[in-house]
Symmetry: C2
Subunit: 264 residues, 2 copies
Amino acid sequence: MCELLGMSANVPTDICFSFSGLRARGGRTGPHKDGWGMAMYRDSSVWSIHDPRPSADSDMADVMSKTSLKCHIVISHIRQANVGNVCLPNTHPFSRLLWDTTWSYAHNGQLDTPQSLTLLTHYPLGTTDSERAFCWLIEQLLAKFGDQMPELEELTAFLGEQCDRLREKGVFNMMLSNGQYLFCYCTTKLHWITRRAPFKPATLSDEDVTIDFKEVTTDKDVVTVIATQPLTHDETWQQMQVGEMCVFDAGELVARIESRATAE
Amino acid sequence: MCELLGMSANVPTDICFSFSGLRARGGRTGPHKDGWGMAMYRDSSVWSIHDPRPSADSDMADVMSKTSLKCHIVISHIRQANVGNVCLPNTHPFSRLLWDTTWSYAHNGQLDTPQSLTLLTHYPLGTTDSERAFCWLIEQLLAKFGDQMPELEELTAFLGEQCDRLREKGVFNMMLSNGQYLFCYCTTKLHWITRRAPFKPATLSDEDVTIDFKEVTTDKDVVTVIATQPLTHDETWQQMQVGEMCVFDAGELVARIESRATAE
Protein backbone atom coordinates (compact mmCIF):
# COMPACT_ATOMS: atom_id res chain seq x y z
CA MET A 1 0.00 0.00 0.00
CA CYS A 2 0.98 3.62 -0.03
CA GLU A 3 0.12 6.94 1.58
CA LEU A 4 -1.34 10.00 -0.01
CA LEU A 5 -1.02 13.67 0.86
CA GLY A 6 -2.93 16.48 -0.79
CA MET A 7 -3.34 20.20 -0.26
CA SER A 8 -5.72 22.80 -1.61
CA ALA A 9 -5.28 26.45 -0.62
CA ASN A 10 -6.62 29.86 -1.57
CA VAL A 11 -3.17 31.44 -1.36
CA PRO A 12 0.18 29.90 -2.34
CA THR A 13 1.14 27.80 0.66
CA ASP A 14 4.07 25.49 1.30
CA ILE A 15 3.67 21.84 2.18
CA CYS A 16 6.85 21.54 4.31
CA PHE A 17 5.12 20.80 7.60
CA SER A 18 2.80 18.10 6.28
CA PHE A 19 5.40 16.61 3.98
CA SER A 20 7.82 16.28 6.91
CA GLY A 21 5.24 14.06 8.58
CA LEU A 22 4.46 12.04 5.46
CA ARG A 23 8.12 11.64 4.58
CA ALA A 24 8.92 9.93 7.89
CA ARG A 25 6.48 7.18 6.98
CA GLY A 26 8.55 6.41 3.89
CA GLY A 27 10.97 4.04 5.60
CA ARG A 28 11.17 5.33 9.18
CA THR A 29 7.80 5.48 10.98
CA GLY A 30 6.10 3.59 8.13
CA PRO A 31 6.96 0.92 5.55
CA HIS A 32 6.35 3.02 2.41
CA LYS A 33 9.96 2.98 1.30
CA ASP A 34 9.54 2.40 -2.44
CA GLY A 35 9.74 5.96 -3.63
CA TRP A 36 7.87 9.19 -3.40
CA GLY A 37 6.69 11.94 -5.70
CA MET A 38 4.97 15.29 -5.72
CA ALA A 39 3.00 17.39 -8.21
CA MET A 40 2.73 21.07 -7.31
CA TYR A 41 0.35 23.52 -8.93
CA ARG A 42 0.66 27.27 -8.62
CA ASP A 43 -1.82 29.25 -10.73
CA SER A 44 -1.81 27.57 -14.12
CA SER A 45 1.59 25.89 -13.77
CA VAL A 46 2.37 22.43 -12.45
CA TRP A 47 5.79 21.00 -11.74
CA SER A 48 6.75 17.61 -10.40
CA ILE A 49 9.36 15.54 -8.60
CA HIS A 50 9.69 11.76 -8.82
CA ASP A 51 12.15 9.83 -6.69
CA PRO A 52 12.11 6.02 -6.35
CA ARG A 53 14.32 6.18 -3.24
CA PRO A 54 12.80 5.95 0.27
CA SER A 55 11.51 9.39 1.24
CA ALA A 56 12.91 9.04 4.77
CA ASP A 57 16.46 8.72 3.34
CA SER A 58 16.22 10.79 0.17
CA ASP A 59 18.25 14.02 0.09
CA MET A 60 15.73 15.35 -2.44
CA ALA A 61 12.87 14.67 -0.01
CA ASP A 62 14.91 16.35 2.70
CA VAL A 63 15.14 19.47 0.52
CA MET A 64 11.39 19.43 -0.13
CA SER A 65 10.55 19.09 3.55
CA LYS A 66 12.68 22.13 4.41
CA THR A 67 12.26 24.46 1.44
CA SER A 68 9.24 26.71 1.23
CA LEU A 69 7.88 26.39 -2.31
CA LYS A 70 4.41 27.87 -2.26
CA CYS A 71 1.60 26.23 -4.22
CA HIS A 72 -2.18 26.24 -4.50
CA ILE A 73 -2.48 22.48 -4.91
CA VAL A 74 -0.16 19.60 -4.03
CA ILE A 75 -0.53 15.88 -4.63
CA SER A 76 2.14 13.79 -2.96
CA HIS A 77 2.56 10.05 -2.60
CA ILE A 78 4.89 7.66 -0.81
CA ARG A 79 4.91 4.18 -2.22
CA GLN A 80 4.98 0.66 -0.87
CA ALA A 81 5.17 -1.34 -4.06
CA ASN A 82 2.76 -4.17 -4.74
CA VAL A 83 2.16 -4.17 -8.51
CA GLY A 84 5.17 -2.93 -10.54
CA ASN A 85 8.78 -2.83 -9.39
CA VAL A 86 10.53 0.17 -7.85
CA CYS A 87 11.61 2.54 -10.61
CA LEU A 88 11.05 6.06 -11.90
CA PRO A 89 8.22 5.21 -14.34
CA ASN A 90 6.28 3.51 -11.53
CA THR A 91 6.59 6.48 -9.18
CA HIS A 92 3.43 8.53 -8.54
CA PRO A 93 1.99 11.06 -9.22
CA PHE A 94 1.22 10.39 -12.87
CA SER A 95 0.33 13.21 -15.25
CA ARG A 96 -1.59 13.35 -18.52
CA LEU A 97 -3.01 16.02 -20.76
CA LEU A 98 -6.80 16.23 -20.72
CA TRP A 99 -8.88 19.13 -22.02
CA ASP A 100 -5.71 21.16 -22.69
CA THR A 101 -4.67 20.90 -19.05
CA THR A 102 -2.19 18.75 -17.18
CA TRP A 103 -4.03 16.46 -14.78
CA SER A 104 -2.07 14.80 -11.99
CA TYR A 105 -3.11 11.71 -10.08
CA ALA A 106 -1.91 9.42 -7.32
CA HIS A 107 -3.45 6.21 -6.00
CA ASN A 108 -3.31 4.24 -2.78
CA GLY A 109 -4.54 0.67 -2.89
CA GLN A 110 -4.47 -2.36 -5.09
CA LEU A 111 -6.79 -3.46 -7.87
CA ASP A 112 -7.58 -7.03 -8.85
CA THR A 113 -7.25 -7.89 -12.53
CA PRO A 114 -6.21 -4.40 -13.67
CA GLN A 115 -5.71 -5.86 -17.16
CA SER A 116 -9.49 -6.07 -17.42
CA LEU A 117 -9.50 -2.26 -17.59
CA THR A 118 -9.58 -1.99 -21.37
CA LEU A 119 -7.45 0.81 -22.83
CA LEU A 120 -7.75 2.10 -26.38
CA THR A 121 -5.91 5.41 -26.57
CA HIS A 122 -4.06 6.12 -23.31
CA TYR A 123 -1.38 3.71 -22.13
CA PRO A 124 0.76 3.53 -19.00
CA LEU A 125 4.52 4.10 -19.17
CA GLY A 126 5.17 1.94 -16.15
CA THR A 127 3.73 -1.33 -14.92
CA THR A 128 1.53 -0.28 -11.99
CA ASP A 129 -2.19 -0.99 -11.67
CA SER A 130 -2.45 2.64 -10.48
CA GLU A 131 -1.29 4.21 -13.72
CA ARG A 132 -3.46 1.83 -15.72
CA ALA A 133 -6.49 2.94 -13.69
CA PHE A 134 -5.56 6.58 -14.37
CA CYS A 135 -5.41 5.94 -18.12
CA TRP A 136 -8.74 4.13 -17.91
CA LEU A 137 -10.30 7.05 -16.00
CA ILE A 138 -9.12 9.51 -18.65
CA GLU A 139 -10.56 7.36 -21.40
CA GLN A 140 -13.92 7.21 -19.59
CA LEU A 141 -13.91 11.01 -19.21
CA LEU A 142 -13.09 11.54 -22.88
CA ALA A 143 -15.69 9.01 -24.01
CA LYS A 144 -18.34 10.70 -21.90
CA PHE A 145 -17.54 14.39 -22.35
CA GLY A 146 -15.54 14.61 -25.59
CA ASP A 147 -13.13 17.50 -25.88
CA GLN A 148 -14.89 19.83 -23.47
CA MET A 149 -14.58 19.73 -19.71
CA PRO A 150 -18.09 19.66 -18.19
CA GLU A 151 -19.33 21.69 -15.23
CA LEU A 152 -18.02 20.63 -11.84
CA GLU A 153 -21.25 19.00 -10.68
CA GLU A 154 -21.55 16.80 -13.73
CA LEU A 155 -17.84 15.94 -13.69
CA THR A 156 -17.89 15.04 -10.01
CA ALA A 157 -20.92 12.80 -10.39
CA PHE A 158 -19.46 10.92 -13.34
CA LEU A 159 -16.00 10.65 -11.79
CA GLY A 160 -17.56 9.28 -8.62
CA GLU A 161 -19.33 6.59 -10.62
CA GLN A 162 -16.10 5.58 -12.35
CA CYS A 163 -14.27 5.46 -9.02
CA ASP A 164 -17.05 3.23 -7.69
CA ARG A 165 -16.37 0.88 -10.59
CA LEU A 166 -12.67 0.81 -9.71
CA ARG A 167 -13.51 0.24 -6.06
CA GLU A 168 -15.28 -2.96 -7.11
CA LYS A 169 -11.84 -4.23 -8.12
CA GLY A 170 -10.17 -3.63 -4.76
CA VAL A 171 -8.88 -0.65 -2.83
CA PHE A 172 -9.03 2.67 -4.64
CA ASN A 173 -8.12 5.76 -2.64
CA MET A 174 -7.04 8.49 -5.02
CA MET A 175 -6.30 12.14 -5.58
CA LEU A 176 -6.70 13.88 -8.93
CA SER A 177 -6.25 17.52 -9.90
CA ASN A 178 -6.30 19.82 -12.89
CA GLY A 179 -4.76 22.73 -11.00
CA GLN A 180 -8.10 24.17 -9.89
CA TYR A 181 -9.98 21.28 -8.29
CA LEU A 182 -8.59 18.56 -6.09
CA PHE A 183 -10.76 15.42 -6.30
CA CYS A 184 -10.31 12.93 -3.45
CA TYR A 185 -11.98 9.53 -3.48
CA CYS A 186 -11.97 7.10 -0.57
CA THR A 187 -12.28 3.33 -0.41
CA THR A 188 -10.60 2.67 2.92
CA LYS A 189 -8.62 5.57 4.38
CA LEU A 190 -8.55 9.29 3.72
CA HIS A 191 -8.74 12.09 6.29
CA TRP A 192 -8.93 15.83 5.82
CA ILE A 193 -8.81 19.06 7.76
CA THR A 194 -9.50 22.66 6.75
CA ARG A 195 -7.43 25.24 8.57
CA ARG A 196 -8.64 28.84 8.66
CA ALA A 197 -8.60 31.78 11.10
CA PRO A 198 -8.32 31.65 14.03
CA PHE A 199 -5.26 29.49 13.35
CA LYS A 200 -3.72 27.41 16.13
CA PRO A 201 -0.56 25.42 16.73
CA ALA A 202 -0.33 21.81 15.53
CA THR A 203 2.12 19.00 16.20
CA LEU A 204 3.08 16.22 13.81
CA SER A 205 2.37 12.63 14.80
CA ASP A 206 5.49 11.26 13.08
CA GLU A 207 8.08 13.90 13.86
CA ASP A 208 8.76 16.05 16.87
CA VAL A 209 7.70 19.19 15.04
CA THR A 210 5.17 21.80 16.09
CA ILE A 211 4.07 24.74 13.98
CA ASP A 212 1.98 27.72 15.02
CA PHE A 213 -0.05 28.38 11.89
CA LYS A 214 -0.89 31.87 13.25
CA GLU A 215 2.68 32.89 12.54
CA VAL A 216 2.72 31.80 8.91
CA THR A 217 -0.76 32.76 7.73
CA THR A 218 -3.08 35.72 7.30
CA ASP A 219 -6.70 35.86 8.41
CA LYS A 220 -7.89 35.24 4.86
CA ASP A 221 -5.98 31.99 4.29
CA VAL A 222 -7.93 28.78 3.85
CA VAL A 223 -5.87 25.62 3.57
CA THR A 224 -7.17 22.06 3.38
CA VAL A 225 -4.86 19.10 3.87
CA ILE A 226 -5.93 15.58 2.96
CA ALA A 227 -3.94 12.52 4.01
CA THR A 228 -4.29 8.76 4.30
CA GLN A 229 -3.84 9.04 8.07
CA PRO A 230 -4.07 12.26 10.11
CA LEU A 231 -0.64 13.90 10.17
CA THR A 232 -1.13 15.77 13.46
CA HIS A 233 -2.24 14.45 16.83
CA ASP A 234 -3.70 17.63 18.32
CA GLU A 235 -6.25 18.57 15.66
CA THR A 236 -9.56 17.01 14.61
CA TRP A 237 -9.42 15.44 11.15
CA GLN A 238 -12.53 14.35 9.27
CA GLN A 239 -12.56 10.77 8.13
CA MET A 240 -13.90 10.09 4.66
CA GLN A 241 -16.26 7.16 4.21
CA VAL A 242 -16.26 4.26 1.78
CA GLY A 243 -17.27 5.51 -1.66
CA GLU A 244 -17.15 9.18 -0.63
CA MET A 245 -15.72 11.82 -2.93
CA CYS A 246 -14.71 15.31 -1.79
CA VAL A 247 -13.71 18.08 -4.18
CA PHE A 248 -11.73 21.08 -2.96
CA ASP A 249 -11.22 24.41 -4.68
CA ALA A 250 -9.05 27.13 -3.13
CA GLY A 251 -9.11 25.29 0.19
CA GLU A 252 -12.90 24.98 0.38
CA LEU A 253 -15.01 21.85 0.01
CA VAL A 254 -17.04 22.67 -3.11
CA ALA A 255 -18.57 19.32 -4.01
CA ARG A 256 -19.16 16.08 -2.21
CA ILE A 257 -20.62 12.71 -3.03
CA GLU A 258 -21.76 10.92 0.07
CA SER A 259 -20.77 7.40 0.86
CA ARG A 260 -22.48 4.82 -1.32
CA ALA A 261 -21.21 1.89 0.64
CA THR A 262 -24.75 0.65 1.13
CA ALA A 263 -25.13 0.22 -2.60
CA GLU A 264 -22.60 -2.57 -2.55
CA MET B 1 15.57 25.23 -29.81
CA CYS B 2 16.79 24.29 -26.39
CA GLU B 3 19.95 23.80 -24.39
CA LEU B 4 21.33 20.63 -22.90
CA LEU B 5 23.52 20.03 -19.88
CA GLY B 6 25.00 16.69 -18.91
CA MET B 7 27.42 15.46 -16.29
CA SER B 8 29.27 12.19 -15.76
CA ALA B 9 31.46 11.75 -12.68
CA ASN B 10 33.35 9.00 -10.87
CA VAL B 11 32.22 10.27 -7.46
CA PRO B 12 28.86 11.77 -6.52
CA THR B 13 29.12 15.40 -7.58
CA ASP B 14 26.66 18.26 -7.51
CA ILE B 15 25.63 20.18 -10.62
CA CYS B 16 24.95 23.52 -8.87
CA PHE B 17 27.69 25.51 -10.58
CA SER B 18 26.90 24.38 -14.12
CA PHE B 19 23.14 24.48 -13.59
CA SER B 20 23.40 28.08 -12.36
CA GLY B 21 24.89 28.95 -15.73
CA LEU B 22 22.37 26.96 -17.75
CA ARG B 23 19.46 28.25 -15.74
CA ALA B 24 20.22 31.88 -16.58
CA ARG B 25 19.72 31.04 -20.26
CA GLY B 26 16.15 29.99 -19.48
CA GLY B 27 14.64 33.45 -19.80
CA ARG B 28 17.41 35.84 -18.71
CA THR B 29 20.62 35.48 -20.76
CA GLY B 30 18.91 33.17 -23.26
CA PRO B 31 15.42 32.64 -24.74
CA HIS B 32 14.83 29.08 -23.48
CA LYS B 33 11.96 30.02 -21.20
CA ASP B 34 9.57 27.14 -21.88
CA GLY B 35 10.46 24.94 -18.97
CA TRP B 36 13.32 22.90 -17.65
CA GLY B 37 13.94 19.46 -16.26
CA MET B 38 16.59 17.28 -14.74
CA ALA B 39 17.24 13.55 -14.32
CA MET B 40 19.80 12.66 -11.67
CA TYR B 41 21.41 9.25 -11.26
CA ARG B 42 23.27 8.18 -8.16
CA ASP B 43 24.40 4.55 -8.17
CA SER B 44 21.42 2.59 -9.42
CA SER B 45 18.78 5.21 -8.57
CA VAL B 46 17.44 7.97 -10.77
CA TRP B 47 15.14 10.77 -9.73
CA SER B 48 13.72 13.63 -11.76
CA ILE B 49 12.28 17.13 -11.74
CA HIS B 50 10.08 18.60 -14.44
CA ASP B 51 9.01 22.24 -14.42
CA PRO B 52 7.36 23.98 -17.39
CA ARG B 53 8.11 27.42 -15.90
CA PRO B 54 11.10 29.48 -17.08
CA SER B 55 14.20 28.22 -15.26
CA ALA B 56 15.42 31.79 -14.71
CA ASP B 57 12.27 32.59 -12.68
CA SER B 58 11.43 29.18 -11.18
CA ASP B 59 11.77 28.88 -7.43
CA MET B 60 12.32 25.14 -7.93
CA ALA B 61 15.23 25.86 -10.30
CA ASP B 62 16.57 28.31 -7.74
CA VAL B 63 16.60 25.53 -5.17
CA MET B 64 18.39 23.17 -7.56
CA SER B 65 21.05 25.72 -8.40
CA LYS B 66 21.83 26.27 -4.72
CA THR B 67 21.36 22.84 -3.14
CA SER B 68 24.14 20.31 -3.31
CA LEU B 69 22.55 17.00 -4.36
CA LYS B 70 25.38 14.74 -5.41
CA CYS B 71 24.99 12.46 -8.43
CA HIS B 72 27.06 10.38 -10.82
CA ILE B 73 25.10 11.39 -13.91
CA VAL B 74 22.86 14.35 -14.68
CA ILE B 75 20.85 15.16 -17.78
CA SER B 76 19.28 18.61 -17.73
CA HIS B 77 17.39 20.55 -20.38
CA ILE B 78 15.97 24.04 -20.77
CA ARG B 79 13.33 24.33 -23.43
CA GLN B 80 12.40 26.78 -26.12
CA ALA B 81 9.27 25.19 -27.52
CA ASN B 82 8.85 24.59 -31.21
CA VAL B 83 6.81 21.36 -31.54
CA GLY B 84 4.37 20.80 -28.65
CA ASN B 85 3.01 23.44 -26.30
CA VAL B 86 4.43 24.33 -22.89
CA CYS B 87 3.21 21.80 -20.33
CA LEU B 88 4.49 19.14 -17.96
CA PRO B 89 4.20 16.18 -20.37
CA ASN B 90 6.28 18.06 -22.96
CA THR B 91 9.06 18.87 -20.49
CA HIS B 92 12.37 16.98 -20.92
CA PRO B 93 14.05 14.75 -19.87
CA PHE B 94 11.86 11.80 -20.81
CA SER B 95 12.29 8.41 -19.15
CA ARG B 96 11.41 4.88 -20.22
CA LEU B 97 12.18 1.38 -19.02
CA LEU B 98 14.56 -0.54 -21.27
CA TRP B 99 16.41 -3.71 -20.33
CA ASP B 100 15.11 -3.46 -16.74
CA THR B 101 16.68 -0.03 -16.32
CA THR B 102 15.31 3.50 -16.44
CA TRP B 103 16.80 5.35 -19.42
CA SER B 104 16.56 9.13 -19.49
CA TYR B 105 16.85 11.29 -22.56
CA ALA B 106 16.74 14.93 -23.63
CA HIS B 107 16.89 16.45 -27.10
CA ASN B 108 17.85 19.78 -28.57
CA GLY B 109 16.74 20.49 -32.12
CA GLN B 110 13.81 20.01 -34.40
CA LEU B 111 12.87 17.13 -36.67
CA ASP B 112 10.94 17.38 -39.92
CA THR B 113 7.99 15.03 -40.32
CA PRO B 114 8.38 13.30 -36.94
CA GLN B 115 5.16 11.42 -37.70
CA SER B 116 7.12 9.41 -40.26
CA LEU B 117 8.93 7.77 -37.31
CA THR B 118 6.72 4.72 -37.10
CA LEU B 119 5.92 3.54 -33.57
CA LEU B 120 4.51 0.15 -32.72
CA THR B 121 4.94 -0.39 -28.98
CA HIS B 122 6.25 2.78 -27.30
CA TYR B 123 4.21 5.96 -27.50
CA PRO B 124 4.83 9.54 -26.33
CA LEU B 125 2.78 11.04 -23.51
CA GLY B 126 3.24 14.56 -24.82
CA THR B 127 3.24 16.08 -28.28
CA THR B 128 6.93 16.84 -28.90
CA ASP B 129 8.98 15.50 -31.80
CA SER B 130 11.69 14.87 -29.17
CA GLU B 131 9.74 12.33 -27.17
CA ARG B 132 8.57 10.64 -30.36
CA ALA B 133 12.21 10.26 -31.46
CA PHE B 134 13.03 8.77 -28.03
CA CYS B 135 10.24 6.20 -28.38
CA TRP B 136 11.45 5.41 -31.89
CA LEU B 137 15.05 4.96 -30.67
CA ILE B 138 13.89 2.54 -27.97
CA GLU B 139 11.93 0.54 -30.50
CA GLN B 140 15.01 0.33 -32.77
CA LEU B 141 17.13 -0.88 -29.84
CA LEU B 142 14.57 -3.50 -28.84
CA ALA B 143 14.15 -4.68 -32.44
CA LYS B 144 17.90 -5.03 -32.85
CA PHE B 145 18.98 -6.42 -29.48
CA GLY B 146 15.86 -8.02 -27.99
CA ASP B 147 15.66 -8.18 -24.23
CA GLN B 148 19.40 -8.12 -23.56
CA MET B 149 21.55 -5.00 -23.50
CA PRO B 150 24.56 -5.56 -25.80
CA GLU B 151 28.18 -4.66 -25.05
CA LEU B 152 29.02 -0.97 -25.09
CA GLU B 153 30.85 -1.05 -28.41
CA GLU B 154 27.99 -2.69 -30.26
CA LEU B 155 25.41 -0.49 -28.58
CA THR B 156 27.31 2.71 -29.36
CA ALA B 157 27.76 1.79 -33.01
CA PHE B 158 24.08 0.97 -33.48
CA LEU B 159 22.88 3.99 -31.52
CA GLY B 160 25.15 6.21 -33.63
CA GLU B 161 23.59 4.83 -36.81
CA GLN B 162 20.08 5.48 -35.52
CA CYS B 163 21.03 9.02 -34.50
CA ASP B 164 22.42 9.55 -37.99
CA ARG B 165 19.01 8.57 -39.35
CA LEU B 166 17.34 11.10 -37.05
CA ARG B 167 19.86 13.73 -38.11
CA GLU B 168 18.64 13.31 -41.68
CA LYS B 169 15.33 14.73 -40.46
CA GLY B 170 16.77 17.91 -38.99
CA VAL B 171 18.72 18.89 -35.89
CA PHE B 172 19.31 16.12 -33.38
CA ASN B 173 21.57 16.91 -30.44
CA MET B 174 20.78 14.53 -27.62
CA MET B 175 21.79 13.02 -24.32
CA LEU B 176 20.79 9.54 -23.19
CA SER B 177 21.71 7.60 -20.07
CA ASN B 178 21.01 4.34 -18.27
CA GLY B 179 22.74 5.44 -15.08
CA GLN B 180 26.13 4.07 -16.10
CA TYR B 181 26.83 5.51 -19.54
CA LEU B 182 26.04 8.98 -20.80
CA PHE B 183 25.63 8.97 -24.59
CA CYS B 184 25.92 12.38 -26.28
CA TYR B 185 25.20 12.85 -29.96
CA CYS B 186 25.84 16.07 -31.89
CA THR B 187 24.25 17.51 -35.00
CA THR B 188 25.03 21.17 -34.49
CA LYS B 189 26.22 22.16 -31.02
CA LEU B 190 27.61 20.22 -28.08
CA HIS B 191 30.74 21.01 -26.06
CA TRP B 192 32.42 19.08 -23.28
CA ILE B 193 35.18 19.38 -20.76
CA THR B 194 36.73 16.84 -18.39
CA ARG B 195 37.97 18.25 -15.10
CA ARG B 196 40.53 16.32 -13.08
CA ALA B 197 43.50 17.08 -10.82
CA PRO B 198 45.14 19.53 -10.80
CA PHE B 199 41.82 21.37 -10.50
CA LYS B 200 41.63 25.10 -11.18
CA PRO B 201 39.14 27.91 -10.74
CA ALA B 202 36.46 28.51 -13.37
CA THR B 203 34.03 31.37 -14.01
CA LEU B 204 30.58 31.08 -15.51
CA SER B 205 29.82 32.90 -18.77
CA ASP B 206 26.21 33.68 -17.81
CA GLU B 207 26.47 34.53 -14.13
CA ASP B 208 29.05 36.35 -12.08
CA VAL B 209 30.08 33.17 -10.29
CA THR B 210 33.55 31.70 -9.89
CA ILE B 211 34.34 28.36 -8.29
CA ASP B 212 37.70 26.96 -7.31
CA PHE B 213 37.26 23.26 -8.05
CA LYS B 214 40.34 22.52 -5.89
CA GLU B 215 38.28 23.36 -2.83
CA VAL B 216 35.41 21.00 -3.61
CA THR B 217 37.22 17.97 -5.05
CA THR B 218 39.78 15.32 -4.22
CA ASP B 219 42.70 14.33 -6.43
CA LYS B 220 40.85 11.25 -7.60
CA ASP B 221 37.75 13.02 -8.90
CA VAL B 222 37.01 12.98 -12.62
CA VAL B 223 34.04 15.03 -13.76
CA THR B 224 32.93 15.63 -17.32
CA VAL B 225 30.40 18.32 -18.15
CA ILE B 226 28.71 18.47 -21.55
CA ALA B 227 26.67 21.47 -22.66
CA THR B 228 25.19 23.00 -25.79
CA GLN B 229 27.45 26.01 -25.36
CA PRO B 230 30.49 26.22 -23.05
CA LEU B 231 29.31 27.33 -19.61
CA THR B 232 32.61 28.90 -18.51
CA HIS B 233 34.75 31.47 -20.29
CA ASP B 234 38.14 30.64 -18.78
CA GLU B 235 38.43 26.94 -19.63
CA THR B 236 38.94 25.10 -22.90
CA TRP B 237 35.90 23.11 -23.98
CA GLN B 238 36.00 20.54 -26.77
CA GLN B 239 33.51 21.06 -29.54
CA MET B 240 31.76 17.97 -30.87
CA GLN B 241 31.44 17.61 -34.62
CA VAL B 242 28.46 16.86 -36.84
CA GLY B 243 27.52 13.20 -36.46
CA GLU B 244 29.91 12.63 -33.56
CA MET B 245 28.92 10.52 -30.58
CA CYS B 246 30.78 10.54 -27.25
CA VAL B 247 30.04 8.09 -24.44
CA PHE B 248 31.13 8.85 -20.89
CA ASP B 249 31.40 6.47 -17.96
CA ALA B 250 32.45 7.68 -14.50
CA GLY B 251 33.67 10.94 -16.01
CA GLU B 252 35.88 9.33 -18.66
CA LEU B 253 35.33 9.22 -22.40
CA VAL B 254 34.97 5.47 -23.01
CA ALA B 255 33.65 5.32 -26.56
CA ARG B 256 33.53 7.70 -29.47
CA ILE B 257 32.21 7.67 -32.99
CA GLU B 258 33.96 10.21 -35.12
CA SER B 259 32.10 12.70 -37.24
CA ARG B 260 30.50 11.15 -40.26
CA ALA B 261 29.53 14.46 -41.78
CA THR B 262 31.38 13.55 -44.96
CA ALA B 263 29.07 10.62 -45.47
CA GLU B 264 26.20 13.00 -46.05
